[in-house]
Protein backbone atom coordinates (compact mmCIF):
# COMPACT_ATOMS: atom_id res chain seq x y z
CA UNK A 1 0.00 0.00 0.00
CA UNK A 2 2.98 2.31 0.58
CA UNK A 3 3.34 2.43 -3.23
CA UNK A 4 0.24 4.52 -3.19
CA UNK A 5 1.15 6.84 -0.35
CA UNK A 6 2.70 9.53 -2.53
CA UNK A 7 -0.10 9.57 -5.17
CA UNK A 8 -2.76 9.73 -2.46
CA UNK A 9 -0.97 12.57 -0.68
CA UNK A 10 -0.69 14.41 -3.99
CA UNK A 11 -4.38 13.86 -4.71
CA UNK A 12 -5.34 15.19 -1.31
CA UNK A 13 -3.05 18.20 -1.63
CA UNK A 14 -4.35 19.15 -5.07
CA UNK A 15 -7.96 18.46 -4.13
CA UNK A 16 -7.63 20.59 -1.02
CA UNK A 17 -5.97 23.35 -3.03
CA UNK A 18 -8.94 23.25 -5.40
CA UNK A 19 -11.29 23.84 -2.44
CA UNK A 20 -9.10 26.70 -1.24
CA UNK A 21 -9.27 28.26 -4.69
CA UNK A 22 -13.03 27.92 -4.77
CA UNK A 23 -13.58 29.33 -1.32
CA UNK A 24 -13.81 33.07 -1.51
CA UNK A 25 -15.13 35.15 1.29
CA UNK A 26 -15.96 38.30 -0.57
CA UNK A 27 -18.18 41.30 -0.12
CA UNK A 28 -21.18 39.05 0.33
CA UNK A 29 -19.62 37.93 3.61
CA UNK A 30 -20.48 34.34 3.08
CA UNK A 31 -19.17 31.92 4.21
CA UNK A 32 -18.44 33.87 7.33
CA UNK A 33 -14.89 34.15 8.51
CA UNK A 34 -13.54 32.02 10.16
CA UNK A 35 -16.11 29.49 11.37
CA UNK A 36 -17.84 28.98 8.03
CA UNK A 37 -14.48 28.65 6.34
CA UNK A 38 -13.36 25.93 8.73
CA UNK A 39 -16.52 23.96 8.01
CA UNK A 40 -16.04 24.16 4.27
CA UNK A 41 -12.30 23.50 4.33
CA UNK A 42 -12.86 20.39 6.46
CA UNK A 43 -15.53 19.18 4.06
CA UNK A 44 -13.16 19.90 1.20
CA UNK A 45 -10.42 17.90 2.87
CA UNK A 46 -12.70 14.91 3.36
CA UNK A 47 -13.88 15.18 -0.24
CA UNK A 48 -10.27 15.32 -1.47
CA UNK A 49 -9.40 12.28 0.62
CA UNK A 50 -12.34 10.27 -0.71
CA UNK A 51 -11.38 11.15 -4.27
CA UNK A 52 -7.72 10.36 -3.71
CA UNK A 53 -8.11 6.93 -2.11
CA UNK A 54 -10.63 5.79 -4.72
CA UNK A 55 -7.95 5.15 -7.35
CA UNK A 56 -5.74 2.83 -5.23
CA UNK A 57 -8.84 0.99 -4.07
CA UNK A 58 -9.84 0.26 -7.66
CA UNK A 59 -6.28 -0.68 -8.68
CA UNK A 60 -6.04 -3.11 -5.77
CA UNK A 61 -9.48 -4.51 -6.66
CA UNK A 62 -10.66 -3.74 -3.17
CA UNK A 63 -14.33 -3.53 -4.10
CA UNK A 64 -15.58 -3.23 -0.52
CA UNK A 65 -13.55 -0.06 -0.15
CA UNK A 66 -14.82 1.26 -3.50
CA UNK A 67 -18.43 0.67 -2.46
CA UNK A 68 -17.91 2.44 0.84
CA UNK A 69 -16.25 5.37 -0.91
CA UNK A 70 -19.22 5.68 -3.26
CA UNK A 71 -21.48 5.68 -0.25
CA UNK A 72 -19.39 8.35 1.45
CA UNK A 73 -19.50 10.52 -1.65
CA UNK A 74 -23.29 10.63 -1.58
CA UNK A 75 -23.11 12.12 1.92
CA UNK A 76 -22.10 15.38 0.32
CA UNK A 77 -25.70 15.92 -0.60
CA UNK A 78 -26.00 16.93 3.05
CA UNK A 79 -23.81 19.93 2.34
CA UNK A 80 -26.52 21.43 0.20
CA UNK A 81 -29.15 20.84 2.83
CA UNK A 82 -26.97 22.32 5.55
CA UNK A 83 -26.23 25.44 3.52
CA UNK A 84 -29.84 25.89 2.53
CA UNK A 85 -31.07 25.66 6.09
CA UNK A 86 -28.53 28.01 7.59
CA UNK A 87 -28.93 30.56 4.79
CA UNK A 88 -32.70 30.50 5.12
CA UNK A 89 -32.45 31.06 8.85
CA UNK A 90 -30.14 34.02 8.32
CA UNK A 91 -32.26 35.42 5.51
CA UNK A 92 -35.26 35.92 7.76
CA UNK A 93 -33.36 38.76 9.45
CA UNK A 94 -32.00 40.52 6.37
CA UNK A 95 -33.34 43.97 5.55
CA UNK A 96 -33.17 43.17 1.87
CA UNK A 97 -33.65 39.43 1.51
CA UNK A 98 -31.55 37.14 -0.62
CA UNK A 99 -34.62 35.26 -1.70
CA UNK A 100 -35.05 31.49 -1.78
CA UNK A 101 -33.88 31.03 -5.41
CA UNK A 102 -30.58 32.76 -4.65
CA UNK A 103 -30.11 30.61 -1.54
CA UNK A 104 -30.82 27.49 -3.56
CA UNK A 105 -28.20 28.58 -6.09
CA UNK A 106 -25.60 29.11 -3.37
CA UNK A 107 -26.38 25.76 -1.75
CA UNK A 108 -26.00 24.03 -5.10
CA UNK A 109 -22.68 25.77 -5.66
CA UNK A 110 -21.37 24.52 -2.33
CA UNK A 111 -22.36 20.96 -3.08
CA UNK A 112 -20.97 20.98 -6.60
CA UNK A 113 -17.66 22.41 -5.42
CA UNK A 114 -17.13 19.41 -3.20
CA UNK A 115 -17.69 17.12 -6.18
CA UNK A 116 -15.18 19.16 -8.16
CA UNK A 117 -12.68 18.67 -5.34
CA UNK A 118 -13.32 14.93 -5.35
CA UNK A 119 -12.86 14.79 -9.10
CA UNK A 120 -9.62 16.79 -8.94
CA UNK A 121 -8.21 14.50 -6.28
CA UNK A 122 -9.27 11.37 -8.17
CA UNK A 123 -7.69 12.39 -11.47
CA UNK A 124 -4.51 13.69 -9.81
CA UNK A 125 -4.02 10.41 -7.96
CA UNK A 126 -4.69 8.44 -11.12
CA UNK A 127 -2.01 10.42 -12.97
CA UNK A 128 0.39 10.23 -10.03
CA UNK A 129 0.13 6.44 -9.86
CA UNK A 130 1.75 6.30 -13.32
CA UNK A 131 4.38 8.94 -12.73
CA UNK A 132 5.11 11.58 -10.14
CA UNK A 133 5.51 14.35 -12.73
CA UNK A 134 2.40 13.37 -14.64
CA UNK A 135 0.54 13.73 -11.33
CA UNK A 136 1.93 17.22 -10.77
CA UNK A 137 1.03 18.31 -14.31
CA UNK A 138 -2.43 16.73 -14.12
CA UNK A 139 -3.08 18.41 -10.78
CA UNK A 140 -2.04 21.84 -12.02
CA UNK A 141 -4.14 21.52 -15.19
CA UNK A 142 -7.18 20.57 -13.11
CA UNK A 143 -6.62 23.48 -10.74
CA UNK A 144 -6.53 25.83 -13.71
CA UNK A 145 -9.74 24.36 -15.10
CA UNK A 146 -11.41 24.65 -11.72
CA UNK A 147 -10.20 28.23 -11.31
CA UNK A 148 -11.29 29.54 -14.69
CA UNK A 149 -14.33 27.45 -15.52
CA UNK A 150 -16.19 27.64 -12.25
CA UNK A 151 -17.96 30.96 -12.61
CA UNK A 152 -21.35 31.35 -14.23
CA UNK A 153 -22.72 34.26 -16.20
CA UNK A 154 -23.10 37.73 -14.80
CA UNK A 155 -25.75 40.30 -15.54
CA UNK A 156 -23.72 42.42 -17.95
CA UNK A 157 -23.51 39.48 -20.37
CA UNK A 158 -27.27 39.42 -20.90
CA UNK A 159 -28.44 42.97 -20.26
CA UNK A 160 -27.53 46.65 -20.38
CA UNK A 161 -27.73 48.75 -17.24
CA UNK A 162 -28.65 52.42 -17.57
CA UNK A 163 -29.77 55.15 -15.21
CA UNK A 164 -33.48 55.80 -14.85
CA UNK A 165 -34.91 59.09 -13.70
CA UNK A 166 -36.82 59.03 -10.41
CA UNK A 167 -39.91 61.20 -10.74
CA UNK A 168 -43.36 61.62 -9.25
CA UNK A 169 -46.63 62.22 -11.01
CA UNK A 170 -48.77 63.30 -8.11
CA UNK A 171 -48.30 60.48 -5.62
CA UNK A 172 -47.18 57.92 -8.19
CA UNK A 173 -43.51 57.04 -8.37
CA UNK A 174 -41.97 56.34 -11.77
CA UNK A 175 -38.52 55.25 -12.87
CA UNK A 176 -38.38 56.68 -16.39
CA UNK A 177 -41.70 55.44 -17.79
CA UNK A 178 -42.15 52.40 -15.55
CA UNK A 179 -44.62 52.72 -12.68
CA UNK A 180 -43.20 51.63 -9.33
CA UNK A 181 -45.79 52.46 -6.67
CA UNK A 182 -47.99 55.02 -4.99
CA UNK A 183 -46.42 57.01 -2.17
CA UNK A 184 -48.89 58.82 0.05
CA UNK A 185 -46.70 60.89 2.38
CA UNK A 186 -45.07 64.10 1.18
CA UNK A 187 -42.28 63.41 3.64
CA UNK A 188 -41.49 60.03 2.11
CA UNK A 189 -41.69 61.49 -1.40
CA UNK A 190 -39.03 64.02 -0.44
CA UNK A 191 -36.73 61.31 0.96
CA UNK A 192 -37.17 59.29 -2.20
CA UNK A 193 -36.47 62.25 -4.48
CA UNK A 194 -33.35 63.08 -2.47
CA UNK A 195 -31.88 59.65 -1.98
CA UNK A 196 -33.28 57.11 -4.39
CA UNK A 197 -31.48 55.78 -7.42
CA UNK A 198 -33.43 54.47 -10.39
CA UNK A 199 -32.00 51.90 -12.76
CA UNK A 200 -33.33 50.49 -16.00
CA UNK A 201 -32.06 47.04 -16.93
CA UNK A 202 -32.65 46.27 -20.59
CA UNK A 203 -32.28 42.62 -21.60
CA UNK A 204 -30.46 42.10 -24.92
CA UNK A 205 -32.57 39.25 -26.31
CA UNK A 206 -35.57 37.05 -25.73
CA UNK A 207 -33.68 34.72 -23.38
CA UNK A 208 -32.66 37.69 -21.26
CA UNK A 209 -36.22 38.97 -21.10
CA UNK A 210 -37.50 35.70 -19.65
CA UNK A 211 -34.50 35.29 -17.33
CA UNK A 212 -34.92 38.77 -15.88
CA UNK A 213 -38.65 38.39 -15.44
CA UNK A 214 -37.90 35.81 -12.75
CA UNK A 215 -38.59 37.33 -9.34
CA UNK A 216 -35.73 35.41 -7.71
CA UNK A 217 -33.22 36.98 -10.08
CA UNK A 218 -34.58 40.43 -9.38
CA UNK A 219 -34.45 39.90 -5.63
CA UNK A 220 -30.84 38.73 -5.97
CA UNK A 221 -30.03 41.99 -7.79
CA UNK A 222 -31.54 44.07 -4.99
CA UNK A 223 -29.77 42.02 -2.34
CA UNK A 224 -26.39 42.51 -4.01
CA UNK A 225 -26.77 46.27 -4.14
CA UNK A 226 -27.98 46.43 -0.55
CA UNK A 227 -25.07 44.29 0.69
CA UNK A 228 -22.35 46.14 -1.17
CA UNK A 229 -23.61 49.72 -1.10
CA UNK A 230 -25.73 49.62 2.03
CA UNK A 231 -29.27 50.85 2.11
CA UNK A 232 -31.22 53.70 3.62
CA UNK A 233 -33.71 51.43 5.31
CA UNK A 234 -34.83 49.98 8.60
CA UNK A 235 -37.38 47.44 9.69
CA UNK A 236 -40.88 48.85 9.78
CA UNK A 237 -40.25 51.22 6.85
CA UNK A 238 -42.07 49.46 4.03
CA UNK A 239 -42.28 52.69 2.02
CA UNK A 240 -38.52 52.66 1.47
CA UNK A 241 -38.09 48.99 0.66
CA UNK A 242 -36.28 48.60 -2.69
CA UNK A 243 -38.42 47.24 -5.51
CA UNK A 244 -38.23 46.00 -9.06
CA UNK A 245 -40.99 46.39 -11.60
CA UNK A 246 -41.16 44.99 -15.07
CA UNK A 247 -42.36 46.66 -18.22
CA UNK A 248 -44.66 43.91 -19.42
CA UNK A 249 -44.53 45.09 -23.03
CA UNK A 250 -40.80 44.89 -23.66
CA UNK A 251 -39.34 43.13 -20.59
CA UNK A 252 -37.25 46.00 -19.25
CA UNK A 253 -36.77 45.94 -15.49
CA UNK A 254 -36.91 49.09 -13.40
CA UNK A 255 -35.11 49.06 -10.07
CA UNK A 256 -35.87 51.52 -7.34
CA UNK A 257 -33.62 51.57 -4.30
CA UNK A 258 -32.08 53.86 -1.70
CA UNK A 259 -28.37 53.11 -1.37
CA UNK A 260 -26.40 54.78 1.42
CA UNK A 261 -24.72 56.95 -1.18
CA UNK A 262 -26.65 58.26 -4.15
CA UNK A 263 -24.24 57.37 -6.93
CA UNK A 264 -25.41 55.59 -10.03
CA UNK A 265 -21.93 54.53 -11.16
CA UNK A 266 -21.41 52.43 -8.04
CA UNK A 267 -24.83 50.87 -8.44
CA UNK A 268 -24.07 49.99 -12.05
CA UNK A 269 -20.67 48.53 -11.18
CA UNK A 270 -22.27 46.23 -8.59
CA UNK A 271 -25.28 45.36 -10.73
CA UNK A 272 -23.22 44.31 -13.73
CA UNK A 273 -21.47 41.69 -11.62
CA UNK A 274 -24.62 40.11 -10.18
CA UNK A 275 -24.56 36.39 -11.02
CA UNK A 276 -27.35 34.97 -13.14
CA UNK A 277 -29.02 32.33 -11.00
CA UNK A 278 -29.12 28.79 -12.34
CA UNK A 279 -32.82 28.66 -11.66
CA UNK A 280 -33.42 31.87 -13.62
CA UNK A 281 -31.79 30.80 -16.87
CA UNK A 282 -34.41 30.18 -19.52
CA UNK A 283 -33.76 29.71 -23.20
CA UNK A 284 -37.00 30.16 -25.12
CA UNK A 285 -34.95 31.14 -28.18
CA UNK A 286 -33.74 27.56 -28.54
CA UNK A 287 -37.18 26.04 -28.17
CA UNK A 288 -39.42 25.03 -31.02
CA UNK A 289 -42.64 26.99 -30.98
CA UNK A 290 -43.82 26.63 -34.53
CA UNK A 291 -42.36 29.90 -35.81
Amino acid sequence: MSDYLLPVVMGVVFGFSARLLLLRTDFRQYPTYPTGQIIHLSFGFIAAFIGAVATPAVLESDWTAVTFLGLAATQFREVRKMERESLQNIDAFELVKRGIPFIEGMAQAFESRNYLVMFTALITTLCAVYSFWLGIIGGIVLLLIVKFRKSGKVLQEIADVSEGEIRFEGATLFVDDILIKNVGLADTRKIITDKAVGVIVTPRNQNGIVTLSYLGQRQAMLHHIATVLGSYLDSGEPALVPMTKRDMADGRIALFMLPSEKDFHQVRAVLEQVPILDSAIRMPKEAHKGK
Binding site: K97, G170, V183, G184, L185, A186, D187, G236, P238, A239
Partner: protein, 63 residues
Protein backbone atom coordinates in the same frame (compact mmCIF):
# COMPACT_ATOMS: atom_id res chain seq x y z
CA UNK B 1 -41.77 39.03 -2.77
CA UNK B 2 -43.98 36.03 -3.18
CA UNK B 3 -47.41 35.77 -1.53
CA UNK B 4 -47.95 39.48 -1.33
CA UNK B 5 -50.93 40.38 0.74
CA UNK B 6 -52.06 43.90 1.51
CA UNK B 7 -54.62 45.11 3.98
CA UNK B 8 -55.97 48.57 4.69
CA UNK B 9 -55.38 49.18 8.37
CA UNK B 10 -56.49 52.83 8.55
CA UNK B 11 -58.05 55.55 6.45
CA UNK B 12 -57.23 59.23 6.87
CA UNK B 13 -59.56 61.63 5.11
CA UNK B 14 -60.70 65.22 4.88
CA UNK B 15 -63.99 64.28 3.24
CA UNK B 16 -66.08 62.24 5.57
CA UNK B 17 -68.78 61.55 2.95
CA UNK B 18 -66.26 59.73 0.69
CA UNK B 19 -65.67 56.98 3.22
CA UNK B 20 -67.99 54.38 4.68
CA UNK B 21 -66.99 52.39 7.72
CA UNK B 22 -65.88 49.02 6.47
CA UNK B 23 -63.44 47.42 8.83
CA UNK B 24 -60.59 49.90 8.84
CA UNK B 25 -60.44 52.71 11.36
CA UNK B 26 -61.19 56.13 9.85
CA UNK B 27 -59.46 59.33 10.95
CA UNK B 28 -61.22 62.56 9.99
CA UNK B 29 -58.87 65.51 9.62
CA UNK B 30 -59.36 69.19 8.74
CA UNK B 31 -56.56 70.23 6.41
CA UNK B 32 -53.84 68.72 4.18
CA UNK B 33 -51.14 69.31 6.79
CA UNK B 34 -53.04 67.39 9.45
CA UNK B 35 -53.69 64.70 6.86
CA UNK B 36 -49.98 64.23 6.30
CA UNK B 37 -49.09 64.29 9.98
CA UNK B 38 -51.78 61.82 10.98
CA UNK B 39 -50.81 59.45 8.15
CA UNK B 40 -47.12 59.74 9.10
CA UNK B 41 -47.87 58.91 12.73
CA UNK B 42 -50.00 55.94 11.74
CA UNK B 43 -47.35 54.75 9.32
CA UNK B 44 -44.65 54.77 11.99
CA UNK B 45 -46.85 53.18 14.63
CA UNK B 46 -48.21 50.43 12.41
CA UNK B 47 -45.00 49.78 10.42
CA UNK B 48 -47.13 50.25 7.36
CA UNK B 49 -47.06 52.46 4.29
CA UNK B 50 -49.35 55.27 3.16
CA UNK B 51 -50.90 55.49 -0.27
CA UNK B 52 -52.80 58.35 -1.81
CA UNK B 53 -56.27 57.66 -3.13
CA UNK B 54 -56.93 61.29 -3.98
CA UNK B 55 -55.93 64.66 -2.59
CA UNK B 56 -58.35 64.25 0.32
CA UNK B 57 -57.81 60.65 1.33
CA UNK B 58 -54.80 58.57 2.31
CA UNK B 59 -54.94 54.90 3.21
CA UNK B 60 -52.43 53.18 5.46
CA UNK B 61 -51.69 49.72 4.16
CA UNK B 62 -49.84 46.86 5.82
CA UNK B 63 -47.99 44.71 3.29
Amino acid sequence: MENQHAEIVAVVTMKRENVVAGGATIFIVKDPQELQITALTLEKVLDATSHEIDADTLIVVAH
